[in-house]
Symmetry: C2
Subunit: 407 residues, 2 copies
């Protein structure tokens, strides 16, 4: 087996690691929660502030095309998810976009009213669906929330919409996007995919997969900054028909006519609501520049190679944790989870030792693999530190701290 | 009459002008559209990027209390609008917040369903109301949209909600907040105020005025940056009952428990939806620091003094424009509008000459007065330039440009 140093030296994506800011000595395995900062972000922000806001003031909406930024950011996101620029618009948050897309999809598929969601997927997906049901009532939306194993059976010829997370935020289990979209279409249902945990780390092809609607965020693997904007994807074939219910002025066909009656913009323009945050979008726009010319097959290959090294290393070292993610690489997203009864304390000890992953209740250690940021050495350091922590039962003590390895 | 120089020298708020970045030679009379950048904004942003996102990464949510930022920003906004910190939360955009507040208010005042809005107020207010009606149907919301003069008569004992812009975005006409709130309450209606054009430039006292709900933005007079976050205000007495319909995970009582069922947070916390943009909120938070210890009576006094100088100057110079704002200072917000048949060309010529106001179709020249930014000299330069432009009929020619006065 090659050493981490050898693999890092051969890594065709290795040159990108320097594009991101990770503190010296930190092994950052949480890019699936908040991506690290692109090193060019502060300069991009400084230009926006000093040269645009500071110099152009209100004129920046035209001169610097702030007004077109949601669309331009959307076009960059489109390249990452395999869509056309026309099909993607950056706007709002995932929660709000799910609300908009659910209403749009339900209306397109009326009189069907059944929405299938998976129990245990990221909570906001279910919360938003139930909130909409609370607003519209059971005669307009009927929620079927089932365990993962029962999702297939729940999708039937009464189903209006199937709303699923492409990659499960805890287990990393992944749906085959094209296959499950086809399954839904076969019975006349529409799909909404939450791509939060897959955008940026694999070759998504939402247009080819005939996905109807999707959303996701830019603050995880796409490194757009804390709370960076979300996006909507609306398939070309639905662009003229899909209508969302929050009629803000930015979604109007001609916002600056300030006309009395609402006429929604064409296409994804109608999915805009209020005035977009230019500052937030500019940071995400800068980050997305790093994702424009990537070979996402190679990105995924590296993700799987790192993940496999982590899984194999845990097995080889006989570490007392249990894999909570699929063994088969093609069934996983870009994070790997393990269970341990004292997962919370273990993760605290890991973080103190400079290996930053996530704890997810009740017993999950989650390690996000960012193929542009992480190295093989990161994986080895994670394994060594995990070994040290687990070997030293003091990790259960509240103030236990293992010395950080700096290699 | 004192000269502009004398008045500027005596101005108790004059020392604040240096806190904002306005290009040399520009007279910026558009702070009601986009406030100028506080000079400390780039450093604040740099600290957020380098020290927080760059160094703390995911840890920033706790270490730098990003998770509390919507509430902390809300508390700063509360000081500006005369509310308690518990009553205000920074979140989303005005359009989205109006949607949330309308649903909350309608539910509180059921079975009433009538919503009174003013025709010609800022379009998003009407658009959002009609969008909600389109979603819920006429048996749940019935919109009465009337001209300003007919608003009073439209508010009756069937009215559920009165949704009004405190200051009119074109004419600057202002409602007496306490008086109109009382008028609504007298017949059992609730009020939602859009404070976009008044927050930051006058002594608002929403709690004392018994306002039920309000929203507004931080990108106008509050100088939070292009597209900076909006906020909701919910009166203390409604905090335990008001429920909004977009059930995002950040509005959950315990978001990090990732529990299956939605339980809304207490108070304004339930008005959060998805993950907030920390970058956008940090810029606004920095800007709001300039508004924490202001005497808003003095701020308003200066606004009125500058506005009056502009109105009086137009009259004294016999400029061929017609005042489109109330003559009485107490009836105006912090902008002044004039009509001219060639308003578009006139404003273009003014902007080229360095006097930046706004054109509003079909014939309005709008000048925003920012009491912390603008000087008496700004007003004199605006008057002189307006005089020059109007005296030279070439302003109607597309490429006409009058030389910028630099004084």
């Amino acid at each position: 087996m090659k050493t981490a140093q050898e693999l890092d030296a051969l890594d065709p994506l290795g040159h990108l690691r320097g594009a991101f800011q990770v503190p010296e000595g930190m092994v950052y395995l949480d890019g699936n929660s908040l991506g690290p900062m692109p090193r060019t972000a502060p300069d991009a922000m400084s230009r926006l502030l000093h040269n645009e806001w500071g110099q152009e003031l209100i004129g920046g909406w035209n001169t610097s095309d702030w007004i077109g930024l949601p669309e331009r950011l959307g076009a960059r996101i489109a390249k990452v998810i395999g869509a056309s620029g026309r099909e993607v618009m950056a706007c709002d948050s995932i929660s709000i976009n799910l609300f908009k897309l659910l209403v749009a999809a339900l209306e397109l598929n009326a009189p069907r009213k059944k929405v299938v969601i998976e129990r245990g997927q990221f909570p906001t997906d279910g919360y938003v669906t139930h909130g909409l049901s609370n607003l519209l009532g059971e005669d307009r939306i009927s929620i079927v929330s089932v365990d993962r194993d029962d999702v297939a059976a729940a999708i039937d010829d009464e189903t209006a919409v199937v709303l699923l997370s492409h990659v499960h935020y805890v287990t990393s289990e992944k749906y085959d996007l094209a296959d499950w979209t086809e399954r839904a279409h076969a019975v006349g249902a529409l799909v909404i995919w939450d791509l939060a945990h897959s955008a940026g780390v694999e070759p998504l092809k939402v247009s080819d997969a005939k996905v109807d609607f999707a959303t996701g965020c830019t603050y995880k693997f796409l490194c757009g900054g804390p709370g960076a904007p979300s996006f909507v994807y609306v398939a070309e074939r639905w662009l003229s028909q899909a209508k969302q219910p929050i009629w803000g002025w930015m979604g109007h066909r001609s916002p600056f006519e300030f006309s009395e009656g609402y006429e929604g913009a064409n296409g994804t323009g109608q999915f805009l609501t209020g005035t977009p945050s230019i500052i937030a979008m500019a940071a995400a726009f800068e980050a997305l520049s790093l994702f424009q010319h990537l070979d996402f097959e190679a990105v995924q290959q590296k993700s799987q190679s790192l993940s496999q090294r982590l899984i194999d290393g845990v097995a080889a070292k006989k570490l007392p944790v249990q894999l909570a993610s699929p063994e088969e690489a093609s069934m996983r997203g870009s994070h790997v989870s393990f269970r341990h009864p004292d997962a919370y304390s273990v993760m605290q000890a890991l973080i103190e030792a400079g290996v930053v992953g996530d704890f997810r209740a009740p017993d999950v250690l989650r390690f996000g693999i960012h193929p542009l940021v992480n190295s093989y050495l990161d994986i080895d350091r994670c394994l060594e530190t995990l070994h040290d922590v687990l070997a030293d039962q003091r990790f259960k003590e509240p103030r236990f701290s293992i010395k950080q390895r700096v290699t």
